[in-house]
């Protein structure tokens, strides 16, 4: 039975996405993040993958909407640079959107008027602009110049030509008489007269001559931002946004626009691989992942966590630490198996040791067990817990490059550093190890989003415990690295061993 994908977006963007997904054979429901008149608007979202329960506010529906997945199609909020440039908007000073709306109604100029009225565009003079903004300007230049007979000057900071075809278009525009004035350190100054017309005073960097421009119209660029609505949606979905406020986070491991919540994707404005303004490739990437989620037995995450109800103390530690929103709290605290990524952060955090990871049925790979220290740790050894994704591979690269690894190292790979519990950190010391080093992925690069951060926090806690036990806290170390940092593994390990040796006696 086809399950629905909820598309959260305004009528225009959301419908585009809905049409694209329908073309891919998905059944969709479109819901506005907020319409203002609350006729049907996104409310709280509970549940998890395959059964998200969405409250729809303002309707007579008694039951919440149940959908299997969701896609957020945000509407960025244009933020014109008026105040950053010290300009008052008005008849003669417009944002790019306002100008494009007005442009078809501008009167063409009769031939005799020489020089004709002019339009000045400000791009990236206060803060950086975007290729899509430049594209919108370049697209209307032929019409502006040929039909409307306007002179055009573009005053810019950095020209953002990193989209398909933009450089060639800029060159065409130059040869057709559009004036491009570049500004590096010394920016133009503006003044506005009683009618709001702008006078631009600047120094042309090419000729180093002072220039004064009085355009008929000044058009100010706009940045595209995540508005309050976009942030609200991320909050309702309990999904982590990126630094710009859009879903998903900018972790490079987030493929197919998938967020940290299984089955929820977020489209990012201007994400097209070639820098064009199309949704096609983005939607195709989303769809392949949404389809792949139907094939449970092919999930790369082959582990799933479960809670032993008999041991669970309902402390809700797991609920708080789970990076994927997979813990449900009802009569029992339970882990939604479909939502679980098997990272093991909960297993390591649970004070009652009530959580364990097990192999999913039909999973392609064997799970890595929590490493056993039995027989592996001799007195005086240095134990290294290393994330399989980063440290283990860096170690392999280090060896591959022909470097000899320190022999007095016991390397224990774990699936995610988040799976290393406080007990695991203490146990080697109980077996007279000289030192313990935890190697995790760099912040922002963890495939379980925050496993590395949990590992660091646990290391710090156990460092305090060591001090209380009369041991030097330097015997427990933490470092981050990536899979392609082979020699760094060598350097970090040797530095740590050197420090431990300095502590002896």
């Amino acid at each position: 039975m086809q399950k629905h994908i909820l598309i959260i977006g305004d009528q225009e963007n959301g419908q585009c996405v809905a049409d694209g997904l329908a073309g891919g054979g998905f059944q969709t429901r479109l819901l506005s993040p907020s319409t203002g008149n609350a006729s049907s608007e996104l409310g709280p979202v509970e549940g998890s993958f395959d059964a998200y329960r969405v409250e729809v506010t303002g309707t007579e529906q008694p039951h919440p909407l149940v959908v299997s997945r969701a896609i957020v199609a945000p509407t960025p909020v244009p933020k014109p640079a008026f105040s950053d440039l010290g300009l008052q908007p008005g008849e003669h000073v417009l944002s790019l959107s306002a100008f494009l709306d007005r442009m078809p109604t501008l009167p063409p100029v009769p031939d005799e008027a020489r020089p004709g009225p002019s339009v000045a565009f400000f791009l990236g003079l206060s803060g950086e602009t975007r290729p899509s903004v430049l594209r919108r300007v370049l697209e209307v230049l032929p019409f502006l110049r040929n039909e409307l007979r306007r002179q055009v000057t573009i005053l810019y900071g950095n020209l953002k030509v990193s989209g398909a075809g933009l450089e060639a278009r800029v060159r065409d525009a130059r040869t057709q008489g559009v004036v491009f004035l570049r500004f590096s350190r010394i920016l133009p100054t503006f003044s506005q007269d009683g009618e709001g017309r702008v006078t631009i005073s600047c120094v042309d960097e090419a000729s180093r001559l002072p220039v004064t421009i009085r355009p008929d119209l000044a058009v100010v660029d706009e940045d595209l931002r995540a508005g309050a609505e976009t942030r609200r949606v991320a909050g309702l979905l309990h999904a982590d946004p990126g630094p710009d406020g859009f879903l998903p986070s900018d972790n490079v491991l987030r493929l197919g626009f998938q967020t940290n919540r299984r089955g929820i994707a977020g489209l990012v404005p201007e994400a097209d691989p070639l820098g064009r303004d199309t949704l096609d490739d983005d939607l195709a990437a989303v769809m392949v992942h949404m389809r792949a989620l139907e094939r449970l037995d092919d999930w790369e995450d082959s582990k799933v966590a479960s809670i032993d109800a008999g041991r669970c103390a309902r402390c809700l530690t797991c609920y708080r630490v789970c990076p994927h929103g997979a813990v449900t709290v009802e009569e029992r605290v339970a882990i939604a198996s479909g939502a679980c990524f098997g990272c093991g952060t909960c297993e390591a955090a649970c004070p009652a040791r009530a959580i364990s990871l097990t192999q999913r049925e039909n999973a392609p790979q064997e799970i890595g067990p929590v490493p056993s220290l039995e027989g592996a740790v001799q007195p005086g050894a240095v134990v290294v817990f290393g994330c399989r994704r980063s440290a283990d591979r860096a170690r392999a690269l280090c060896r591959h490059l022909g470097r000899e690894l320190p022999s007095d190292l016991v390397f224990l790979p774990v699936d995610c550093a988040g799976r290393i519990s406080r007990n695991m950190l203490l146990e080697p010391f109980l077996r007279d190890a000289a030192g313990v080093l935890v190697l995790a992925c760099h912040p922002g690069n963890c495939h379980a989003e925050r496993g590395n951060l949990h590992a660091r926090a646990r290391v710090e806690e156990v460092q305090h415990m060591l001090e209380e036990l009369g041991l030097e806290k330097e015997r427990l170390g933490f470092h981050t690295l990536a899979a392609n940092q082979g020699p760094a593994f060598d350097r970090i390990a040797k530095e740590f061993i050197g420090r431990i040796e300095g502590l002896k006696g």
């Binding site: 960097e205 760099h442 690295l481």
Partner: protein, 413 residues
């Protein structure tokens, strides 16, 4: 279509990502790569994290190669070139030319003994990653046997008996139900530019800098192996270049140079960095927070150099340019000069694309309008930098899109 299979031309990050995506749906792939080692360009890159990930995407190449190498649905064929393709009905029959596989990937453990004992420089080459299969490869053109000398040092040294010198070039015929062209890009060769590449030791490309950092965790001046105290980056080498007809921005070089500058200064704040540029392109969704702190850390020269000459000490580089602020010629001396070379169309792209009925656009990259539209009717689509300049993350995304279109064409989804 029972048991569909796809031919992926190109084993870089886009090709491997396509293969992995298809594998999730049970679709088998053969991934061809003309190089002796799969992983494309990105497998030679280094992590550029400071105290946190800077989203360069280099680790994705490692990730993809590792996963694809272990996936039972994917067969990676290095040293393999697509020779010809013909169609019969909806099936493709591809003739693939394979260089001799002197080292057996199923036996090689990557111990490196062959490299240790080989007397001829360049005859045994180590792959960029331990996940290359095999991790070592013989280059017959450098081997002593190519000049009729009898040497069997590697064969004798190999503890796994993985090396056989009696292998020959072979041709194989692969059949497939669809094709994904992900043959990557050619880095611009800056030899003809007046920056001294190939003439002066301490002029390198950004790709060589990445490799240096990956293999040594440090940047060293090629002339004497010392760490540079001043580094110059020249942007847009081979890009945005009317003279060459390269009328495109290569998109990733600003981000690459600035991330590199950042990590080098993070390690040694005394390193002086100069960037010669036209415009700085944005990179990453956190560009607004990443860029301002760099403003003060870097000496910005908004001009491309006119030429580079050797400084008086015989190893540093004197970079001459026109300073528009003063209206005078000026020069900057740096210990190491890094040329940010552009992404240009692959050497064989036109020919390879022609074999499957695709035609590059005016820039020489595969016209994107072909990549989507044709796949539905003809079973061929394209991904990655064969389409045009893009970052590693974007190449993965474009591969996901290509996989979707292929799966739809194959009626798997």
């Amino acid at each position: 279509m029972p048991d569909p299979s796809v031919l992926v031309v190109g084993g870089g990050v886009a090709g491997l990502s396509s293969a992995l995506e298809l594998a999730r749906f049970g679709v088998r792939t053969h991934v061809l790569d003309s190089a002796p080692f799969a992983g494309g360009h990105a497998i030679g890159f280094s992590c550029k994290a400071t105290d946190q990930c800077v989203r360069c995407g280099a680790c994705l190449a490692e990730d993809r190669l590792h996963s694809a190498g272990n996936n039972e649905h994917i067969r990676i064929l290095p040293s393999s070139r697509l020779q010809n393709v013909y169609r019969e009905g909806r099936r493709f029959f591809a003739t693939v030319h394979r260089e001799p596989q002197y080292i057996d990937p199923d036996r090689c453990t990557g111990c490196g003994r062959c490299l240790e004992v080989c007397p001829a420089p360049g005859a045994v080459n180590r792959g960029p990653s331990p996940f290359n299969r095999p991790p070592f490869v013989l280059d017959a053109t450098q081997c002593l046997r190519s000049s009729k000398q009898d040497c069997r040092a590697c064969v004798e040294a190999c503890p796994e008996a993985a090396i056989s010198l009696e292998r020959e070039v072979s041709e194989m015929i692969l059949d497939a139900d669809a094709v994904i062209l992900a043959s990557g890009f050619l880095p611009f060769d800056p030899t003809d530019k007046p920056y001294g590449y190939g003439r002066f030791d301490n002029v390198v490309t950004n790709l060589e800098l990445e490799r240096m950092l990956r293999e040594n965790n440090r940047v060293k001046r090629p002339s004497d192996g010392t760490p540079p105290s001043s580094i110059g980056f020249v942007q847009c080498v081979g890009s945005r270049d009317e003279h060459l007809g390269n009328l495109w921005c290569s998109r990733v070089c600003c981000g690459s140079a600035l991330r590199m500058a950042r990590v080098l200064q993070h390690r040694d704040p005394s390193v002086e960095v100069t960037v010669f540029y036209i415009d700085i392109q944005s990179f990453g969704r956190d560009f607004e927070t990443v860029f301002p702190p760099l403003q003060d850390a870097i000496h910005w020269v908004r001009a491309l150099p006119a030429e580079t000459s050797l400084a008086e000490d015989g190893s540093a580089l004197k970079v001459s340019y026109f300073d528009s602020e003063s209206g005078q010629p000026a020069a900057k001396t740096v210990d190491l000069l890094v040329l940010s070379v552009g992404i240009t169309p692959g050497e064989d792209l036109e020919e390879t694309a022609g074999l499957v009925g695709l035609k590059p656009g005016p820039d020489g990259f595969l016209d994107p309008s072909h990549a989507g539209a044709l796949a539905r009717s003809e079973g061929v689509t394209a991904a990655g930098t064969a389409l045009g300049p893009m970052s590693i993350s974007d190449a993965v995304k474009s591969a996901e899109a290509a996989s979707w279109r292929t799966l739809r064409y194959l009626q798997v989804v």
